[in-house]
C-alpha cells in the first residue's frame, strides 16, 4: 500500500465538517490545512484559538464536543518553535480533526481552552510542565508531573535525555 500524497488545497478539503465550518465562519483564521494519511490537520491563528474551539464545539451538524488529546511538539531550533496540537472528536458523528497552533520560542503563551472543554485542564498543565508553554486564563496553571521546584521543562528538545547531571 503506497502512501497517497497529502492534499493541502483548502478548497478541496471544504467538505470536511470542521474545515467547512471554520471557513464559513471566518476564513482568515485558517492558515493552512492538510489531509494526510486519512487525518485532517488545520493550522489556526494563535489569537483566535479559543473562539475556534467554541465554534467547533457548538457546531450544530457536527459538534466537536470531545477534546481527545492536547499536546505539544518542539521544533527546536527552527522558528516558530512550538506547535500546540489539539485532537478533537465528535461523539455523535465520530469525526476527528487535529488543530494546530504555532508559537514562538521566546515566550510561548496561548489562550487556554479550559472554558470550552474543561477536559483541557490536566492536558494544559502537562504541556506547561513539560514544555513551558503558558496558557493564559487557565484557572490553576501549576506543574503536574514534575515536582513543584523543578527547574526547566524536560520535554524540550534542548533538554538532555539523561537530564542535567
Amino acid at each position: 500500500m503506497a502512501l497517497a500524497p497529502p492534499i493541502t488545497n483548502i478548497e478541496e478539503l471544504k467538505s470536511h465538517p470542521a474545515l467547512g465550518r471554520l471557513v464559513g465562519w471566518n476564513a482568515s483564521v485558517v492558515q493552512e490545512a492538510k489531509f494526510d494519511r486519512e487525518e485532517l490537520t488545520i493550522w489556526v491563528a494563535k489569537e483566535s484559538i479559543r473562539e475556534v474551539a467554541a465554534i467547533l464545539r457548538d457546531s450544530s451538524d457536527c459538534p466537536f464536543n470531545y477534546l481527545a488529546d492536547l499536546t505539544c511538539v518542539d521544533w527546536y531550533p527552527s522558528e516558530p518553535r512550538f506547535e500546540v496540537v489539539y485532537h478533537l472528536l465528535s461523539i455523535s458523528k465520530k469525526e476527528r480533526v487535529r488543530l494546530k497552533v504555532r508559537l514562538d520560542g521566546s515566550s510561548p503563551a496561548i489562550e487556554s481552552v479550559t472554558s470550552v472543554w474543561p477536559a483541557a485542564d490536566f492536558y494544559e498543565r502537562e504541556v506547561f510542565d513539560l514544555f513551558g508553554v503558558r496558557f493564559t486564563g487557565h484557572p490553576n496553571l501549576k506543574r503536574i508531573l514534575m515536582p513543584d521546584d523543578w527547574e526547566g521543562h524536560p520535554m524540550r528538545k534542548d533538554y538532555p535525555v539523561e537530564g542535567y547531571r
Binding site: D74, P118, A119, L145, M146
Partner: protein, 404 residues
C-alpha cells in the same frame, strides 16, 4: 445546547475556613491502586473537594522514546499500562504502520484481535478483583486471580513473558503461536462465561455491594463528555461510544459484539458495563478462534520487519537486513498520525510524529486513566470519604498510565 461546567481556581490544600480539614490519602494507600495521591478537603465525613496529586511514577517515557529507534519503543509501551501491555503495543504498532503505509497479513490481524481481547479480560479481572476487595468482598478477588492466571499463561505461551509481553511488532507479530495454543484458549473460552456467572452471583445481587455502589459517585453524560472521560466510565453515563465499533482497526469490523451502555452514571453502572464487556470479549475470542486464517504473521517488508531466525542464519540477504535494522533502524516517511484504540480503560491514543529519520521525533501517549482522573474530582464532590474508595475503583486507574 448542553451546559458545560466551568472550572474554578484550585485552592485545595490552603485551608481558609475553620470548619474544613485537609486529609491526605496516599501515595502509599492500599485502595489507591498504585502511587496515586489524593488531597481531600473534608467537612466531617463529606468530601467538599478532591485534588489528585500525580507524578510519583513519572519516568519520562515520552522523552526516552525520542532517543530510541522505532522498533525499540515497543518494549517501552508495555510499561505504560502494565495491566494491558498488548493494547499499548497494538496502538503504537498501528500508528507506526499507518505512518509507513504498511499492510498487515490477515492472520496477524486476527491474532492481534484475539490477544487484545484476552488482554481486556486480564485487565478487567484485576479491576473486578481489586474493586470488590476495596468494598469488602474478598472471595471475588481469589476467583478473578484464578482466571487471570490462565490468561497470563497464554501470554507466556506466545511471548515468553507474563506481563511485559512486547508480542506485537511493527509489521506483525513477534512469533508464531506455539502448537496447542488455540486448543487451550478454546478450552478457557468455553469455561469462562461460567466463571463470570460465579462473580456475578457474588456481587450483582449482593445487598452490601449494591448499597456501596448504587447512586454513588454520579457522573452525568454532559460532565463525562466535557471532562473527557472515556471507556466504561463514559458508557456507564449513557454515552454510546466504542472505538472498536465506531472506528474499527486491525480487523474489528469482521467481529460481531454488543457495546454495553448504562444510563445510571454511578459506580454500579460502570461495574455492570465492565462485567458485560467480559462476556462480549469472550464472544470475540470465540469468533477469532473459529475464523483464524492461515498464512504469514509478518508483513512482507524486509527493510522494516526482522527476518525469521532460520533465514537469518542461512541467507546472506536476510542477515544483511537483520544487521541493518538492529544497528541503524529503519526510516519512516515524515508525517504525523494519531491512532486511538479502545483499551480496557477507554481511548488509548498514540500521537507519533516522524521527521523522516529512524527515531520518532515525538511520541505522545493519551492515557485513558489520565482523562478519567479529571472526572474523579468531579464525581467525588459531596460524597463520603468511604465512597471515594468506590469511585477510585470504578474508574479503574492505572498509575503507570497516568504518569508515564
Amino acid at each position: 445546547m448542553t451546559q458545560f461546567p466551568t472550572l474554578v481556581p484550585d485552592t485545595v490544600g490552603e485551608p481558609d475556613q475553620d470548619s474544613t480539614m485537609i486529609l491526605n490519602m496516599g501515595p502509599q494507600h492500599p485502595s489507591t491502586h498504585g502511587v496515586l495521591r489524593l488531597i481531600l478537603e473534608i467537612d466531617g465525613e463529606t468530601v467538599l473537594r478532591l485534588r489528585p496529586e500525580i507524578g510519583y511514577l513519572h519516568t519520562g517515557i515520552e522523552k526516552t522514546c525520542e532517543a530510541k529507534f522505532y522498533q525499540q519503543v515497543v518494549p517501552l509501551t508495555d510499561r505504560i499500562d502494565y495491566l494491558c501491555p498488548m493494547t499499548n503495543n497494538l496502538a503504537y504498532c498501528l500508528a507506526v504502520e499507518k505512518l509507513l503505509g504498511m499492510e498487515i497479513p490477515p492472520k496477524a490481524q486476527w491474532m492481534r484481535v484475539l490477544m487484545n481481547e484476552l488482554t481486556r479480560i486480564n485487565s478487567h479481572l484485576v479491576w473486578l478483583g481489586t474493586h470488590a476487595m476495596d468494598l469488602g468482598a474478598m472471595t471475588v478477588f481469589l476467583y478473578c486471580f484464578r482466571e487471570r492466571e490462565d490468561v497470563l499463561r497464554f501470554f507466556e505461551m506466545v511471548s515468553g513473558q507474563r506481563m511485559m509481553t512486547s508480542y506485537f511488532r511493527i509489521g506483525g507479530l513477534a512469533l508464531e503461536p506455539p502448537i496447542g495454543f488455540f486448543e487451550k484458549v478454546k478450552k478457557f473460552a468455553d469455561r469462562f462465561p461460567g466463571n463470570v456467572d460465579e462473580y456475578e452471583n457474588l456481587l450483582t445481587g449482593n445487598p452490601i455491594f449494591m448499597m456501596r455502589t448504587k447512586g454513588i459517585a454520579y457522573l452525568s453524560a454532559e460532565d463525562a463528555v466535557a471532562l473527557g472521560a472515556c471507556g466504561p466510565t463514559m458508557r456507564g453515563s449513557g454515552i454510546d461510544i466504542d472505538l472498536r465499533r465506531d472506528a474499527p482497526y486491525t480487523g474489528y469490523e469482521n467481529f460481531k459484539f454488543k457495546v454495553p451502555v448504562r444510563t445510571e452514571g454511578d459506580v454500579f453502572a460502570r461495574y455492570l458495563c465492565r462485567v458485560q464487556e467480559l462476556r462480549e470479549s469472550i464472544g470475540i475470542v470465540q469468533q477469532a478462534l473459529a475464523g483464524m486464517p492461515e498464512g504469514p504473521i509478518k508483513a512482507d517488508s524486509p527493510k522494516v520487519v526482522l527476518p525469521d531466525r532460520e533465514k537469518m542464519k542461512t541467507q546472506m540477504e536476510a542477515l544483511i537486513y537483520h544487521f541493518k535494522i538492529i544497528t541503524e533502524g529503519f526510516t519512516v516517511p515524515a508525517g504525523e498520525v494519531y491512532q486511538a484504540i479502545e483499551s480496557p480503560r477507554g481511548e488509548m491514543g498514540y500521537y507519533v510524529v516522524s521527521d523522516g529519520t529512524a527515531k520518532p521525533y515525538r511520541v505522545h501517549m493519551r492515557g485513558p486513566s489520565f482523562a478519567n482522573l479529571r472526572a474523579l474530582a468531579t464525581m467525588c464532590e459531596g460524597q463520603l470519604i468511604a465512597d471515594v474508595i468506590a469511585a477510585i475503583g470504578s474508574i479503574d486507574v492505572v498509575v503507570g498510565d497516568i504518569d508515564r
